[in-house]
């Protein structure tokens, strides 16, 4: 664990930040209630259908603050007072970043349903630090190929080579998040995602540029989802069940494949803050999210769908079919880890992504 020296600037910044964060928290809290839980979350956790049962059962108000990207989430924590937040949703691969900053509390494994999780998504390499578990995977899925099966040949979607073929020139969108798409580029050139080094960057850049040359747009979640749903493009690089499942009712032609080269496994975890003033309730919240009912509600959240990590999630047969629940063992066997670069390689990857975006 690293401890940064306190400079006058950092003291000034922390005081200013604390004042801003306190104001934001007060606004987020709204009307006062007897008991409250403060959660830093991704948009799928703000669905009332997910939160209401927990709030009613525990007579508590869950105050949520959405963020995108671990850096933005950790910045909110930096700007807050210790104890302001109780739980956080975080990319599983980034749990060590929170641990390194001394933010998280070890989770009691005996009080959480670890035995019921898909074994491949326990993510021990990321969620266990120095023998202690700091995060539990709550939801996962794949960054792979999302497509409209009425517009493309589904057989072509079994190979990543199709993404750079002339046949689909101008029919492709790329999901605008560098880590998973660089992971897919690695798979396309036969490199394992867990073994990406700086030496691989030139080959990865060449592959990304080929993808870009075929693409109509590079879009964040809403833009890429809209492009696929409206027929602007027929293929989404980096798409998966998180794009197609939620739209299945309106647009059953949308589907995803796990190509022969594999796919990138994404996963999100829940962590509890070390300075939480309400650890019992924070644990209850995590237990609820990990329960069969909570898992089903989280998996089918209005913001985006994804696979529940708990095999006992109380999904309906139709929901399981949409999420291709029964095919998961095969998918997981072919999926590769989300790239988890160190800070230096991460910076170089992002700069490579910037070059790709600027390429004409």
């Amino acid at each position: 664990m690293t401890v940064n020296a306190r400079t006058p600037l950092s003291i000034l910044k922390s005081h200013l930040s604390a004042a801003c964060a306190a104001a934001a928290l007060l606004l987020a809290m709204g009307g006062a209630q007897a008991a409250e839980l403060n959660a830093l979350i991704w948009c799928d956790h703000s669905d009332p259908a997910l939160l209401q049962p927990f709030e009613e059962a525990n007579n508590i108000k869950v105050n949520v603050k959405e963020f995108e990207g671990t850096g933005a989430g950790l910045a909110i924590v930096d700007q807050s007072q210790p104890g302001d937040w109780d739980v956080m949703v975080i990319d599983s691969i980034d749990v060590p970043r929170g641990v390194e900053k001394g933010l998280f509390e070890p989770l009691p494994e005996d009080k959480l349903p670890f035995a019921d999780l898909f074994p491949e998504v326990r993510m021990d390499k990321s969620t266990v630090v120095d023998g202690k578990r700091y995060g539990i995977t709550e939801k996962f899925g794949y960054n792979t190929i999302g497509f409209n099966k009425t517009k493309v040949d589904p057989a072509d979607m079994q190979s990543l080579a199709s993404l750079t073929s002339d046949k689909y020139n101008g029919k492709v969108a790329i999901y605008d998040y560098y880590l998973p798409v660089i992971g897919m580029a690695a798979l396309a050139i036969g490199k394992k995602t867990a073994e990406i080094t700086e030496a691989d960057l030139p080959a990865l850049k060449a592959e990304l540029l080929k993808m870009k040359a075929n693409a109509k747009l590079v879009g964040e979640v809403t833009a890429s989802q809209t492009a696929l749903a409206t027929g602007e493009v027929d293929i989404l690089v980096g798409g998966g069940e998180w794009v197609t499942a939620g739209l299945a009712k309106e647009n059953p032609a949308l589907d995803f494949s796990i190509p022969k080269e594999g796919a990138v496994l994404w996963s999100q975890s829940l962590a509890m803050f070390k300075d939480s003033k309400n650890k019992d309730m924070a644990l209850k919240f995590i237990q609820y999210i990990m329960s069969p009912e909570g898992q089903a509600r989280l998996a089918t959240s209005s913001c985006y769908w994804g696979m529940p990590s708990n095999t006992k999630a109380a999904l309906t047969e139709e929901q399981k079919k949409i999420l291709r629940f029964d095919e998961q063992p095969g998918f997981l066997a072919r999926a590769q880890a989300y790239p988890a670069p160190n800070a230096d390689l991460d910076k170089k990857m992002q700069d490579m992504w910037t070059e790709m975006l600027q390429a004409q």
Binding site: L16, G69, A75, Y177, L179, K216, A223, T354, Q358
Partner: protein, 281 residues
């Protein structure tokens, strides 16, 4: 007498103190913090110029500024060309009693959310959108054009907004213009074109420049429109700034890029300053 004198000199300060305090608290202090931050290393100690040197040495970073300036220049020029005649029609051709209603109708679309409006443009310009359907329907093009997710789409979204802004500033300027100027020009034998070029246009230059400066500042700093309509086929400066924050939380580099952007806006202000004075001769 001394006491009265002190009171009279204290009153202006008392009146201006809230504005000064507001500026100090919400502009000067954050700006100083951002300046310090831009000189530090991400997750490191000590001061460094590395964040600034990255901008000046990495072509993809530098390119973002070039893209921003190009888009801003195109938007500004098109907006002026569209807004001036519109403002002139409103000020000169629409009867006085209908002018308020006409202005309100012109501004009406801007009562909707900026984000919603951008997404609406995305749907209008999409492959299956209204424009492409119309063009293919009447046989002007065989295949739908790629309009969405391009610089053209970004410029369209911007122009839609800034034409209105410029119209308002130019309209206000035209309304201030005394009819005597035109009468005097006519008396001296100038025709309508000559009167416009040599009298009306120079006198409405302040309105144009105020609108131009506002367009420049708002356009070069906007993240939403290029992000939604541009399809990330090129990055503009605000997108580059946001990119540093999302996953890596690199606030020092984001701060340095923001300071550079502010420097460009300052240069634009200095270029327009002559016309941005509140008092007019």
């Amino acid at each position: 007498m001394a006491s009265a004198g002190n009171n009279s000199s204290a009153l202006p300060w008392a009146l201006v103190t809230p504005a000064l305090a507001w500026t100090l608290l919400f502009f000067v202090l954050p700006f100083i913090a951002m300046g310090f931050s831009s000189l530090t290393a991400h997750e490191g100690r000590g001061f460094t110029l590395a964040n600034y040197s990255q901008f000046f040495t990495d072509p993809s970073y530098w390119r973002a500024m070039v893209n921003s300036l190009e888009v801003t220049a195109i938007v500004t020029v098109i907006s002026i060309l569209l807004a001036y005649p519109f403002a002139w029609i409103l000020a000169e051709q629409v009867p006085e009693r209908w002018q308020r209603l006409a202005l309100m109708l012109a501004v009406l679309p801007f009562w909707t959310s900026y984000v919603v409006r951008s997404y609406s443009w995305l749907l209008v310009l999409a492959q299956n959108g209204v424009i492409n359907r119309a063009l293919t329907g009447i046989g002007l093009v065989g295949e739908p054009l790629q309009l969405a997710n391009t610089r053209f789409a970004t410029v369209t979204g911007f122009v839609h907004f800034f034409v209105m802004l410029l119209t308002l500033t130019i309209f206000a300027n035209l309304k201030q213009l005394s009819p005597s100027y035109r009468k005097a020009a006519a008396d001296l034998g100038a025709g309508p074109v000559r009167t416009f070029v040599h009298v009306v246009l120079p006198l409405t230059l302040p309105g144009i420049m105020v609108g131009t400066f506002l367009t420049f500042v708002l356009c070069i700093g906007d993240y939403i429109t290029p992000q939604i309509l541009g399809g990330n086929n090129e990055l503009l400066m605000p997108q580059l700034v946001m990119m540093q924050i999302g996953r890596r939380g690199d606030f020092p580099l984001a701060s340095a890029l923001s300071i550079i952007l502010m420097a460009v806006v300052t240069i634009a202000y200095l270029a327009c300053a002559r016309w941005l004075k509140i008092e007019r001769a």
